[in-house]
Symmetry: C2
């Protein structure tokens, strides 16, 4: 392992530089705010025999599960997402699940890689959060230095093979006069969950108490603000765990794959016109 | 077969009504202009063992191959695209290819259906053409009552498994002062090829002569107009044929699957918020 570097050291470096620091083990932290303007990705690695159903599941549930890249079976490189991306080493931290149980957290999955594995990269909310902020719409959990609050909803997913369940959603309080803008801005990023899936009363989508998120931390809702809900990238992770695959590898939340693709590109394929 | 109906008889009918006329065999014609506002789809039906690679291919080449629906293996129904869609009977005309050779054209594939087949529905250019026309941008081949001119380009596709080749493009002449609007309007429909892939000199993308399209018919380019090129849904058909699958079924050009999904819906999954 090379000399370790901090998040601050990497803040203005390119996606390739950040991945290089991750690959050597010099950086194993969260990727929020790194390689600004580049697409960051949720990760699901699974045995090939489940990959067709998983892609069908993602197509049918594109808001929580926007597919932005798919590797060839057994091939750890992802050339459509970036130059020289080796998915075995270029994510800061991975979670390894066996039969639906977390068995390991690691910074390198080279020894777990087999000819049978397929990588699926999925869009993540960093993309539209950056766009909201650029457009003067507050993102409360960022302001408060917290993880976004995430909730199990009662919104049924469209099943495919062993994959099914309910959607996980994130909540961001938005000033009432900026809700329309929040819809319009995030709606431009279908590769990153797109427009909100609900607004207002949490009970309408099966959430009992906004102060008690299922993941992440609660945030303040100020006078004049309304809770707005977006589809969340934890959804596919949850669904994968429930399916109890013999092996499944994901990123550790917040520790994303950083692509060379621009987050506002029309497609998530490098160099595609 | 019931009493036949004409395109005119169906012009103001719902998608369900049009599919019902198709299912009974009363209508076997082109679907352009029918069920206005509903998504129309290109069709690829193939054996399951090729489906994962085909979906990878479509993900990597999303502009020519925008996936809008995928059936379960062996299941001829497509509930995410519409109520009671039976893909064996609800398309006006099908083409059957064996080992890359056209062996049959038929209005019903019930006898060919097996437990091994997977249906992939892909977006089609009717969607953005309707939007261009609504916004006052001329669509020449429609004005001239012709099929859109289609050309083999030299734009390489990103391969996946047995699927590879070059992009097929359509050309529409656009007045120079409306090109930016044409990009903006069609760019709103990523499920239907999105924004153009090139503009101007056909030689830049390997087209020798616009007057001699590889499919469809040439159209007039008037003074002040510039040729604009979009990714074309013939691309996946071509690629499927080149892969010489033992069996592959497509729609006959212009004879599309009509979904219940609105063509401007955020996702192509029915009732998804």
């Amino acid at each position: 392992m090379s000399k370790s570097v901090s998040h601050t050291d990497l803040i203005n470096r390119s996606a390739a530089d950040v991945r290089a620091a991750i690959r050597t083990g010099a950086y194993t932290g969260q990727t929020s705010g790194l390689a600004a303007g580049k697409l960051q990705c949720n990760l699901a690695i699974l045995p090939e025999r489940f990959a067709l159903d998983f892609l069908r599941f993602c197509q049918r549930n594109a808001k929580p599960c926007p597919v932005v890249g798919v590797g060839d079976t057994g091939n750890p490189y992802l050339p459509t997402l970036g130059h020289d991306i080796d998915i075995r080493r270029d994510v800061p931290k991975y979670r390894v699940f066996r039969d639906g149980v977390l068995t390991d957290e690691t910074t390198d999955i080279t020894e777990l890689w087999t000819d049978d594995l397929v990588t699926v990269a999925l869009g993540c909310s960093f993309t539209f959060e950056n766009a909201l902020q650029r457009n003067g719409i507050p993102v409360r959990h960022v302001e408060m230095g917290r993880n976004v609050p995430m909730y199990r909803s009662n919104l049924a997913l469209v099943p495919a093979g062993p994959f099914a369940g309910e959607m996980v959603v994130t909540m961001r309080p938005i000033p009432e006069n900026k809700i329309a803008a929040a819809y319009a801005i995030s709606g431009k990023y279908p590769q990153a969950h797109g427009a909100p899936i609900a607004v207002g009363d949490p009970g309408d989508i099966g959430i009992a108490d906004l102060a008690q998120p299922d993941w992440g931390e609660p945030v303040d809702i100020r006078p004049g603000e309304v809770p707005v809900y977006w589809a969340c990238g934890v959804t596919p992770q949850n669904v994968l765990l429930d399916a109890k695959l013999p092996l499944c590898i994901t990123h550790t939340p917040g520790h994303m794959l950083i692509a060379d693709v621009a987050e506002d590109a029309e497609t998530t394929v490098l160099n595609t016109k």
